[in-house]
């Protein structure tokens, strides 16, 4: 069953926390992965793979560069769930 927008955000925050140690409460929709959360490209790729697994979606490599904010990622995952 497809998860809600809020559920995807909560799940993504857990993945970000596990990879970077950033508090889940800091992972907000408007935050930029690079500028606000200071997540580098390699950590971003790890987050992407873990998100693919957790949400059973496919995030193409070429799409990753378009996921600038947490909100971008949540929107992509939510719609990719169908």
């Amino acid at each position: 069953m497809a998860l809600s927008h809020d559920e995807v955000l909560a799940g993504l925050a857990e993945i970000v926390n596990e990879e970077t140690g950033i508090d889940t409460d800091s992972v907000k929709l408007e935050k930029s992965f690079t500028n606000d959360l200071d997540i580098d490209s390699i950590s971003m790729m790890t987050i992407v793979v873990n998100a693919e697994e957790k949400f059973s979606v496919k995030i193409p490599d070429e799409e990753v560069k378009n996921l600038l904010t947490v909100g971008d990622a949540v929107n992509f995952i939510t719609s990719a769930q169908g």
């Binding site: 580098d40 490209s41 390699i42 971003m44 790729m45 790890t46 992407v48 793979v49 490599d61 990753v64």
Partner: protein
């Protein structure tokens, strides 16, 4: 019609690695020395790659010099005569001649002439490809001892302003002698390729483009994130399969020796494989950089030299890189 009965090679049941040899570029190039052209810093490079220095060959130090030094150490440590070597396999992507091969000259220089000799091109997977071939040659009875060398002078093929791979690269050669054994010393190899990602790690242009003035001197480049993703999550599957076909579990390992591509790949592989603390993890990249085909034997040699692992323990070695190509096997440490 009947024909005369043919002889075939007598097979041998087991093979093992007898010894290793190592040679690194003489120069220790710091991050500060290379950070300028890529608008970077020591801190950034350490954080992203783990590299503190990379070994690079001096101008008067050739790929062949390093290959000969490493090979002579391996031959001496194995306690064999070079004349007993039945085949020489040289894995390299930086031998500067299309032909003849690097292997035939190496064979001459180490005193193993007239052993059959050939190069293989499997980039960072090349040494593990070579061990797979040596294992097959020994067990099929084709050769008693095989010299396997992974060697690179990658500094001839780098671009100082390239942020994708050049700053990672180092120079060196690692060598191994493979020969017959009373018990299994090299597990079945799990290996393969994925040419659908042929351009993910490649040269910037072909030599023909360079000849025709359509491109500058070809250098290495990579699509780092795609390669990172493949190197971790696909290689985890390969590593697990290698353990399975070897008939062992992760806790049976003394060491994990991966291709030294990037510390972040190594750390993520360790995490994904859930290796127990007791397994020594090779992190030679910190001081040597990424030496492609040389990195696995150099890293294993270093673990043994430091005393982090003992001879007789089991090591999972895994090479992966341009092609894309990969190979993994469990070996008894020499």
């Amino acid at each position: 019609m009947t024909h005369a009965k043919l002889n075939q090679f007598e097979t041998v049941k087991f093979s093992k690695i007898y010894s290793l040899g190592a040679s690194r570029g003489r120069l220790r190039v710091t991050n500060d020395e290379i950070a300028g052209p890529i608008d970077s810093s020591d801190e950034w490079i350490r954080q992203r790659t783990g590299i503190i220095t990379r070994a690079r060959a001096a101008k008067d130090q050739s790929l062949m010099d390093m290959a000969v030094e490493a090979s002579k150490e391996a031959i001496a440590s194995a306690g064999i005569s070079p004349q007993e070597i039945g085949a020489v396999i040289f894995s390299t992507i930086s031998h500067p001649y299309q032909t003849p091969s690097a292997a035939t000259l190496l064979t001459e220089l180490v005193g193993a002439n007239p052993a059959p000799a050939f190069d293989i091109s499997a980039a960072c997977a090349g040494y593990c490809y070579g061990i797979a071939q040596a294992d097959a040659l020994v067990r099929s009875g084709v050769a008693k001892y095989v010299l396997v060398v992974g060697g690179e002078k990658l500094s001839d093929f780098i671009e100082p302003t390239d942020r994708s791979i050049s700053f990672l690269l180092g120079d060196g050669a690692g060598a191994a002698i493979v020969g017959p054994s009373d018990e299994a010393g090299i597990s079945p190899t799990v290996w393969g390729s994925d040419g659908s990602h042929w351009s993910s790690v490649s040269m910037t242009a072909s030599l023909l483009d360079f000849r025709d003035g359509e491109a500058s001197w070809p250098t290495l480049r990579q699509d780092g994130l795609t390669v990172f993703k493949w190197a971790v999550w696909e290689m985890v599957k390969v590593a697990k399969e290698a353990l399975e076909v070897a008939g062992i579990k992760a806790e049976d390992l003394s060491a994990l020796v991966t291709h030294q591509a990037n510390i972040r790949i190594i750390d993520e592989l360790v995490k994904q494989l859930q290796l127990p603390e007791s397994v020594a993890v090779a992190r030679d990249i910190v001081n040597t950089g990424n030496t492609s085909a040389a990195s696995v034997p150099l890293a294993m040699h270093q673990l043994l030299k430091e005393g982090a692992v003992k001879s007789g323990g089991l090591a999972l070695q895994i090479g992966f890189g341009a092609g894309l190509a990969f190979a993994a096997q469990v070996v008894v440490l020499p």
